[in-house]
């Protein structure tokens, strides 16, 4: 049975100037222990998707329609109280900037223990034991000492380890990590990613990794979803998407990687910039920047189609596939 | 050091933005009402000698036979619309003159505050280093003693030094000076913070390379960019200065009974609250509260819409 099943999720923001849609018909599923990456430029709606799973979208935002099922149980219908026991216990989150995530005036230990004790009836002493155990697991030296320290006494990488420890503390089913390494030094990024991957493997936890960095994706995730302007445009196994991207946007993203350029050559880039959610282009939202765009693209939104490699929402891929099948018939 | 309060962000305000702000202002009924009332106060204060039925400074109109007459709607005495005080002065006229005094003391005191604060703030921010450190430490210490306390102490000292008769002649100047000098840190800190923010920008370097003197850079280039926080502080500080003046006069350290401001009117009236002549106290109080209220509302509106972060204290 799928662990998490998101169907036709629409998320909107109620603004003074009207309702702005941030997510369009997003559907995906996640198996137990699976690691999925959610990729796209900033503003594509990746974080909004991550936060809307546990209904933590910031204020004017709300889930307009769609379903989110965890183990078959509908999350969008839960009361605040019921939802609270999903957050942190079954679905844990890791935020982007470890400098801002931990409360500066509360000690690391207390912030760990409170996470345990708000979901279990464990005694303080037992909770402390578990917390110190977890600190050791995320390779923090002298965890007993760190337990009593305050966030400002720890380095950024150390803090992100603490946050991973807090995420793991109650053996959740899913961890949603929102750009967990963006705010860190490049040298530490790899370590933290490796740790995250290792912890997920050991504890059999599913991971949704939100990132804009395709280099990160290949190292951690088995499956990749590419988002553009609030919609998933391509979804499939990571390796295959990287080797043979189908959607023009994914192709653009990959060719824009610095590794793809030869020395002395200009870096590739996708011309134009992502539209703001306020004035989303008609049809396929990517068509103004797409070199393959046809008239159809500007009129109607393409549906999803399986290309043999990945599931894509693109007319060009659709046309190519139907051409192939015509050849097959002949 | 207590620099707990945030640095402020400043945007130079373009003409277009002013127009936008003005349109927003017109659509906010409470703000417009406040401005109308405030303008009304200003007009009345300016025109007090013309519209007041009596001259409260003229001893001829102090007739003890007319003392403590209730307002028109109670006593039916048509001569005195708002009644009279204990010395037989027409309350309406004294309030008109009192408002005039309170407003002018407030305005002049804040002009001194602003002048001093802007000068110190610009110097401290631009010069930096020891001078800056020294000024800001002074500001910290002065703020921790509170304006009211400093004003009370100094006015008390002056009063004892000069003797109360001589002091009464000087009261207005002393009030303006003391309230003006005691509140400079607010202006100075805000200006300093914006100078520090502006100083790093390239146009200041460019101006310096072009050989423009520091004075000219500060006044021509940096000061205009600090207009929006200044406007907000200016509005709120006038209200504060009027309250301070009223409180000092209430304590007997401000305007004398013969030349009453709103605060001294309330102070006089306070002694008659017990004997039932409530109007001598209540009507000037209401006048003062309404004035302060509309100024605070205007200040709040400006702060919310020009959105400068100001040093709170």
């Amino acid at each position: 049975m799928t662990l998490l099943d998101v169907r036709n999720l629409n998320v909107c923001f109620g603004l003074k100037s009207g309702v702005m849609q941030a997510l369009y018909d997003v559907s995906f599923s996640l198996e137990r222990g699976e690691r999925v990456a959610l990729v796209g430029e900033s503003g594509a709606g990746k974080s909004i998707l991550g936060f809307s799973i546990v209904n933590l979208i910031s204020k004017p935002g709300f889930i307009e329609s769609g379903s989110i099922k965890l183990d078959g149980k509908e999350l969008t219908q839960l009361s605040h109280r019921q939802l609270r026991h999903v957050r942190g216990k079954r679905i844990a989150m890791i935020f982007q900037d470890p400098m801002m995530t931990l409360n500066p005036v509360i000690s690391v230990g207390v912030q760990m223990v409170e996470a345990i004790r708000s979901h279990t009836t464990m005694s303080k002493k037992d909770a402390k034991k578990i917390a110190i155990d977890r600190l050791a697991q995320v390779q923090i030296p002298s965890p007993e000492l760190r337990f009593d320290q305050f966030p400002h006494e720890l380095s950024g990488g150390m803090r992100q380890r603490v946050i991973i420890a807090i995420a793991m503390i109650l053996n959740p089913d899913i961890i949603i990590a929102d750009e967990p390494t963006t705010a860190l030094d490049v040298t530490i990024q790899a370590e933290i990613l490796e740790l995250l991957k290792h912890m997920c493997e050991v504890c059999n936890v599913a991971l949704i990794l939100i990132t804009h960095d395709l280099g990160v994706v290949s190292r951690v995730a088995e499956r990749t979803m590419v988002m553009y302007a609030g919609r998933i445009v391509e979804e499939g196994p990571t390796l295959e998407i990287i080797n043979d991207p189908q959607h023009p946007y994914t192709q653009g993203l990959l060719s824009a990687l610095p590794q793809m350029a030869l020395p002395g050559q200009r870096l590739n880039q996708i011309t134009g910039s992502m539209p703001s959610l306020m004035n989303r282009p008609s049809g396929c939202a990517f068509h103004p920047r797409c070199k393959y765009a046809t008239e159809k693209c500007s009129v109607e939104q393409p549906g999803y189609i399986y290309s043999g490699i990945s599931t894509v929402a693109c007319y060009m891929v659709e046309d190519m596939l139907s051409e192939f099948s015509e050849y097959d018939e002949v | 050091m207590k620099y707990s309060v945030k640095e402020l962000s400043l945007l130079p305000i373009s003409k277009q933005r002013w127009k936008h702000i003005w349109n927003g202002f017109l659509s906010d009924k409470l703000a417009v009402l406040s401005l109308v009332i405030f303008i009304f106060y200003c007009v009345v204060a300016l025109a007090a000698p013309l519209i007041a039925p009596f001259d409260p400074y003229d001893p001829q109109f102090m007739d003890l036979e007319n003392s403590e007459i209730a307002p028109y709607w109670i006593s039916g005495d048509e001569r005195f619309l708002l009644g009279t005080d204990a010395q037989g002065r027409d309350l309406l006229s004294t309030i008109l003159y009192g408002t005039r005094l309170s407003l002018s003391i407030g305005l002049l005191a804040v002009i001194i505050q602003a002048g001093l604060g802007i000068f110190i703030g610009l110097t401290a921010g631009y010069a930096g280093g020891r001078l800056d450190n020294f000024f800001m430490r002074c500001a910290d210490i002065q703020l921790s003693f509170s304006t009211m306390m400093i004003a009370i102490v100094f006015l008390a000292i002056f009063q004892t030094l000069f003797g109360s008769d001589y002091y009464q002649q000087l009261a207005m100047i002393m009030l303006i000076l003391v309230i003006g000098l005691a509140e400079w840190p607010l202006f100075a800190r805000t200006i300093r913070a914006s100078v520090l923010a502006e100083k790093q920008k390239e146009y200041v370097d460019a101006a310096r390379i072009m050989g423009i003197g520091p004075m000219r850079i500060m006044f021509k280039h940096i000061l205009p960019n600090t207009m929006s926080p200044l406007l907000v502080i200016f509005t709120i500080q006038i209200a504060n200065a009027i309250v301070a003046e009223a409180a000092l006069s209430f304590l007997g350290l401000g305007m004398p009974v013969s030349e009453p401001s709103l605060g001294s009117l309330i102070s006089i009236g306070f002694s008659y609250v017990f004997s039932g002549a409530w109007w001598i106290c209540i009507i000037p109080s209401a006048t003062l509260i309404l004035l302060i209220l509309v100024m605070n509302l205007l200040g709040d509106w400006l702060r919310d819409h020009l959105n400068p972060k100001i040093y709170k204290d």
Partner: protein
């Protein structure tokens, strides 16, 4: 910690020296102390002799050092009016002012914190809007009008509470006259302490609300929600503890305003505290009393500022006390 205390001590010395110089100037230039001492019926020659004996013809600097030495030994001179040591007169009035200020602070804490938090958590609630509206009005009502209004309503019209004085007091520990222990004392305390509190409340309610709102939008509060903590824990532990920091700093600054406001409150309610004593001393040109008051108030400022910084450092782990402080 030790460095912090030393720095504080140094700063206190500077502030107190400035205050003592001001006090000295007042005492020096006000009236003729010799005349005060001996009365009218003494010849100029005798006065000159006394001046010489008492050292009034020494240089100002010598006079100041003598004055400072006396002050350090607790000798502030003798009040002209009470004919008693000035410090004794003031310390006798200290309990009244202290209890007034203390009750006001308690009221402010008990009211502003729940109100401010509520207004921040439920900004759209009718009650919260009413709170914010009334605090805007409250901010515009000067303290003495609050006092007059309360006095007029509750003492004169309704006659629920006494209108002046401290009522019955009890002597505790042999030195402290408290009004907390008698019913009469407490009933006298209600109006003054409330008007003092009401004068400062609106500012604190607004401040707590705006700081709390800012904290509630922070990442760490969002993270606390993601951890599935209970709303009570998020509001009262995670958010409130951070809200406290700027409030404490500003509360420390407001100590000065509080002392100034006690003078006003004591005048309105004829509260026999240091404030009204000071005003009386000003009217009577009782210079030893004036300068003693200034020095006592200066000491109160220094002590309360140090206390505020200690509390701040206790709540905020990122502050090392040694590097903090004025």
């Amino acid at each position: 910690m030790l460095i912090f205390l030393l720095r504080r001590l140094l700063q206190a010395c500077v502030v107190m020296t400035v205050i003592s110089i001001i006090s000295f100037v007042i005492q020096d230039s006000l009236g003729d102390p010799v005349r005060q001492m001996v009365g009218q019926s003494v010849s100029p020659a005798e006065i000159e002799q006394i001046r010489q004996e008492q050292g009034f013809n020494d240089t100002k600097f010598e006079q100041y050092t003598r004055y400072a030495k006396n002050v350090l030994q607790g000798d502030f001179g003798t009040s002209y009016f009470y004919k008693e040591p000035a410090l004794d007169v003031i310390l006798k009035k200290l309990p009244a002012t202290f209890e007034l200020a203390f009750s006001a602070i308690i009221i402010i804490i008990m009211v502003s914190i729940p109100c401010g938090i509520f207004a921040a958590i439920r900004p759209k609630n009718i009650l919260a809007r009413f709170l914010m509206f009334s605090s805007t009005i409250g901010l515009s009502v000067p303290i003495f009008i609050v006092g007059i209004f309360l006095l007029y309503t509750f003492s004169i019209e309704l006659q629920w509470t006494p209108s002046f004085g401290r009522g019955d007091t009890v002597l505790v520990f042999g030195i402290w006259e408290t009004g907390f222990l008698t019913l009469d004392g407490l009933s006298h305390l209600i109006l003054p302490s409330f008007s003092l509190a009401i004068a400062l409340l609106p500012m604190f309610v607004r401040l707590i609300r705006s700081e709390m709102l800012e904290v509630l939008h922070s990442e760490y509060v969002k993270y606390a929600w993601a951890k599935g903590l209970s709303p009570a824990r998020i509001y009262f532990v995670h958010a409130f503890k951070n809200t406290m920091l700027p409030i404490i700093t500003i509360g420390g600054i407001q100590v000065g305003t509080l002392v100034a406001y006690t003078i006003l409150t004591e005048t309105i309610f004829q509260w026999p505290g240091m404030g009204s004593l000071f005003l009386d001393a000003v009217n009577r040109v009782d210079s030893p009393l004036i300068s003693a008051y200034l020095i006592v108030v200066g000491a109160i400022f220094v002590i309360s500022n140090t206390l505020v910084d200690l509390i701040y450092g206790y709540i905020n782990p990122t502050v090392k006390l040694a590097s903090h402080g004025l």
